[in-house]
C-alpha cells in the first residue's frame, strides 16, 4: 500500500461526508479552541477495505473459485460455533461472505454474479474483476475469519452502525444495541432544545461511534468531548471524526473517564457512555470473536461488572449542569436495577427522573436520568 493513496482517499471520504452534514456545518458556532490535538497524531488506522483503491484484479473464474472455497469452509462450520460459545452459524457466515465480496470488489454487480454463476460462458469468466485486495489476501482473510474466529468487522476494517460506517481497527466494535443511546439523546434534545447546546461527553469513546452520532444529532449547536484511555482508540476515533468532517465539533482527549474533563466540571449538558460492564468471570466464556480479539479493557467491568458504571454515576452528579442528561449502557436487567437503586440511595435529590430503557431485543439495557434543577 503506497502512502500517497490512503491520503488521497481520505480526502475523498471527507468531502463526501461533509456534503451530508453541510447543514450542521452552517449552524456550527466555530468558537472552538484548538484542542490538544490527538486527531492529527502520526499513526493512522488501516483504511477500511471498502475505501481502498481497486489496485488488484483477478479473473472471474479465480474469484469464483475463492468464493466457492470460502462458502464450503463456512458451511463446514455448521452449528459448531453456536454450540461452543454461541458464535455465528453457517447462515450468518454466508451473509458475512456476501458483505466481504461487496466491500472487496469495485463493481458491485459481481456480488450477485458470484452467487448465480454457472460455467456456461467460459470467455465471460476469463474477464478480469477489479479488486481492492489481492486474491491471496482474500484466502488469508477468510481463513482468519473461520479458523481464528477473527471478527468480521476486523476483516473488512469497518462496522456499519446507524447511518455511519466506522473504522474499528483494534477497538470495541460498536453493537447494534448501542444505536439506541443515540435515539435517547435525540429524544431528550427535541424535548429540550436548550440541551442541544453546550458540552456533551462520550466517555470511553472507542471508535468514536457515539460521539459522532451524537454530534450529528446536536446539529452543530453543541460540542462533543470524547475521552478514552487508549491511544489506539483515540487514533481510530480521530480517523472516523475526520472522515465525517466533524473535527471542529468533536474534541478527543486522552485519559480515564472524567479525568481529562477538569475544565468542564458542572458544565455538561449530557454524559453518554458504553463502558465495560461484563463481569470479569464471564470474560473467559465469551464468544471467541469477542473474548479473543476485542480489547479486554473495553469489556471487563470488574468483579460484578459495575466498577466503571458506579464511578460514572457518582461523578455524573458533579459533572452535569443542572438539567443535564446522562445515559449509560449496562449488562442488562440486574445491573440496570442495581444502578437505579444505587443512585436513588446515594444521590437522592441530585440525580432524578431515573429510567431503565430496553434495547431492541427487550432487554433492560440503559439507565438514564437528569441532574435536578434548583427550584
Amino acid at each position: 500500500m503506497g502512502s500517497a493513496v490512503p491520503l488521497q482517499l481520505h480526502s475523498i471520504g471527507r468531502g463526501a461526508m461533509r456534503l451530508s452534514i453541510s447543514r450542521a456545518y452552517l449552524a456550527a458556532p466555530h468558537r472552538v479552541r484548538p484542542s490538544r490535538s490527538i486527531c492529527s497524531s502520526s499513526s493512522k488506522p488501516r483504511i477500511p477495505l471498502f475505501l481502498r483503491p481497486p489496485n488488484y484484479s483477478a479473473t472471474l473464474t479465480d474469484l469464483q473459485k475463492w468464493h466457492d472455497w470460502a462458502k464450503t469452509l463456512s458451511s463446514s462450520v455448521g452449528s459448531s460455533f453456536v454450540d461452543a460459545d454461541n458464535g455465528p452459524d453457517s447462515a450468518l457466515l454466508h451473509r458475512e461472505l456476501k458483505w466481504l465480496v461487496e466491500d472487496a470488489v469495485e463493481d458491485k454487480s459481481i456480488s450477485s454474479e458470484l452467487r448465480t454463476n454457472s460455467e456456461q460462458n467460459h470467455e465471460h469468466n476469463l474477464r478480469n474483476v477489479r479488486l481492492k485486495v489481492g486474491i491471496e489476501e482474500l484466502y488469508r482473510l477468510w481463513k482468519q475469519r473461520i479458523h481464528e474466529r477473527r471478527p468480521f468487522q476486523y476483516i473488512v476494517g469497518c462496522e456499519h452502525w446507524r447511518d455511519l460506517i466506522l473504522s474499528v481497527e483494534g477497538v470495541l466494535i460498536p453493537r447494534p444495541e448501542t444505536e439506541v443511546l443515540v435515539d435517547l439523546v435525540a429524544e431528550v434534545v427535541s424535548d429540550n432544545e436548550a440541551l442541544r447546546e453546550g458540552f456533551w461527553v462520550d466517555l470511553g469513546t472507542g471508535s468514536g461511534a457515539i460521539a459522532i452520532a451524537i454530534c450529528r444529532v446536536l446539529e452543530g449547536r453543541g460540542r462533543v468531548i470524547a475521552t478514552d484511555l487508549s491511544p489506539t482508540a483515540l487514533t481510530v476515533a480521530g480517523y472516523n471524526v475526520q472522515r465525517y468532517g466533524l473535527q471542529e465539533l468533536i474534541e478527543l482527549r486522552q485519559g480515564s473517564w472524567y479525568k481529562p474533563l477538569r475544565d468542564v466540571v458542572g458544565k455538561l449538558s449530557g454524559i453518554i457512555s458504553n463502558p465495560p460492564y461484563i463481569p470479569s468471570d464471564n470474560i473467559v466464556g465469551l464468544q471467541a470473536e469477542v473474548g479473543k480479539h476485542e480489547p479486554r479493557v473495553a469489556l471487563d467491568g470488574g468483579t460484578n461488572g459495575m466498577d466503571e458504571l458506579i464511578h460514572l454515576c457518582d461523578e455524573a452528579a458533579v459533572m452535569l449542569k443542572p438539567g443535564g442528561f446522562f445515559a449509560f449502557e449496562t449488562n442488562g436487567e440486574d445491573q440496570s436495577k442495581y444502578l437505579v437503586k444505587y443512585v436513588e440511595d446515594n444521590h437522592r435529590g441530585r440525580l432524578c427522573d431515573l429510567k431503565i430503557v430496553s434495547d431492541f431485543a427487550g432487554i433492560p439495557r440503559f439507565i438514564t436520568g437528569f441532574l435536578n434543577e434548583p427550584l
Binding site: 452449528s79 453456536v82 454461541n86 458464535g87 455465528p88 452459524d89 447462515a91 450468518l92 454466508h94 451473509r95 458475512e96 458483505w99 471478527p151 468480521f152 468487522q153 462496522e159 456499519h160 452502525w161 446507524r162 447511518d163 455511519l164 470495541l172 466494535i173 453493537r175 447494534p176 444495541e177 448501542t178 444505536e179 458504553n274 465495560p276 460492564y277 461484563i278 464471564n282 465469551l286 464468544q287 470473536e289 469477542v290 476485542e294 473495553a298 469489556l299 449502557e329 449496562t330 449488562n331 442488562g332 430496553s358 434495547d359 431492541f360 431485543a361 427487550g362 432487554i363 433492560p364 439495557r365
Partner: protein, 237 residues
C-alpha cells in the same frame, strides 16, 4: 420465494413467559418478553417477498397512514429484531440486524434484513411498510360525483383527459409520491370490482393506457390481480 413465505408464516407469537433456548428468536422492543420463535434459517432468505398479510383490509383511515411522518408511523408499530439467545450487548458479535415492523392497526408487517446496520434496516422496513399500506389498505370511493384526488392525477400519463395542465410531470413508481397515487388508483379499481375498462372512464384514459400504467409496477400489478381474482376475473398479464 415460496420457502421464504413459509418461513415467515411459521413465525407465530407464542405466549411463553421466559426466553427459550434456541439459536434464534425474535425479540420485541419493550419489556413484554413475548417471543416470536423462529423455525428454520431466517438468514437464507433474500429481499423479495418481504411482506406478509394477505387480503385487502377495509379501514377508513387508510389514507392517513401514508401521510404520517416516520416517527408517527413508527409509534403505531411493534418492532421485532432477530436476535440470538444470551445477554447481548458487549457479549455478542453476530451482526444480526434484521428488523421486522408490525403495523398494529392493520396487522401488516414489513421487514428488512439486507443492511448491516439495524438503523438502516429499520428505515427500509418502514419504507416497505408504507408501500404495503398503500397496496393493502382500501378506502371507500364515492362513485356518484367522483373526481380523482391530486395524488392520483400525478401518476397518470399526460394524455389523460382529466389531467389538469398544471399537474406537473407524471410521477413514476420510483418516486415516493407514487404510493398515495397508487393507493387511490387501487381504491377506485376495488370499488369498480376490478374492471379496468370502467376505471379507464373515471380517469380519462383508454383501457390499454390503464393496463400499461398498472403493469409499470410489479407490486401494483399484483395488487390489481389480487382484486380481479377475488372478483372472479382474469388477471392482467
Amino acid at each position: 420465494m415460496a420457502t421464504t413465505n413459509m418461513l415467515w408464516k411459521s413465525a407465530k407469537i407464542l405466549s411463553i413467559p421466559v426466553p427459550i433456548a434456541s439459536n434464534g428468536r425474535w425479540g420485541r422492543i419493550g419489556c413484554t418478553f413475548r417471543i416470536h420463535q423462529f423455525e428454520g434459517s431466517f438468514f437464507s432468505n433474500s429481499l423479495r417477498s418481504n411482506c406478509s398479510s394477505s387480503s385487502a383490509i377495509s379501514v377508513w383511515k387508510g389514507k392517513e397512514y401514508l401521510i404520517l411522518s416516520d416517527e408517527e408511523l413508527m409509534r403505531q408499530c411493534e418492532m421485532d429484531t432477530f436476535k440470538a439467545s444470551g445477554p447481548g450487548g458487549q457479549h455478542r458479535n453476530k451482526r444480526e440486524s434484521a428488523v421486522r415492523l408490525k403495523h398494529i392497526p392493520t396487522g401488516i408487517t414489513a421487514q428488512a434484513v439486507e443492511d448491516r446496520s439495524q438503523h438502516k434496516n429499520r428505515a427500509s422496513a418502514l419504507a416497505r411498510l408504507r408501500a404495503q399500506l398503500a397496496l393493502k389498505v382500501r378506502n371507500p370511493v364515492n362513485l356518484e360525483d367522483y373526481s380523482p384526488p391530486p395524488e392520483l392525477l400525478q401518476i397518470l400519463p399526460l394524455k389523460s383527459t382529466i389531467r389538469p395542465p398544471g399537474c406537473g410531470p407524471q410521477i413514476g413508481p420510483n418516486n415516493s409520491k407514487f404510493l398515495p397515487g397508487m393507493q387511490s388508483l387501487l381504491d377506485l379499481i376495488y370499488t369498480l370490482d376490478g374492471s379496468i375498462s370502467d376505471t379507464a372512464k373515471y380517469i380519462g384514459l383508454t383501457t390499454g393506457a390503464v393496463s400499461r400504467l398498472i403493469l409499470s409496477d410489479d407490486s401494483l400489478r399484483m395488487a390489481v390481480n389480487d382484486i380481479r381474482i377475488s372478483k372472479g376475473m382474469k388477471p392482467l398479464k
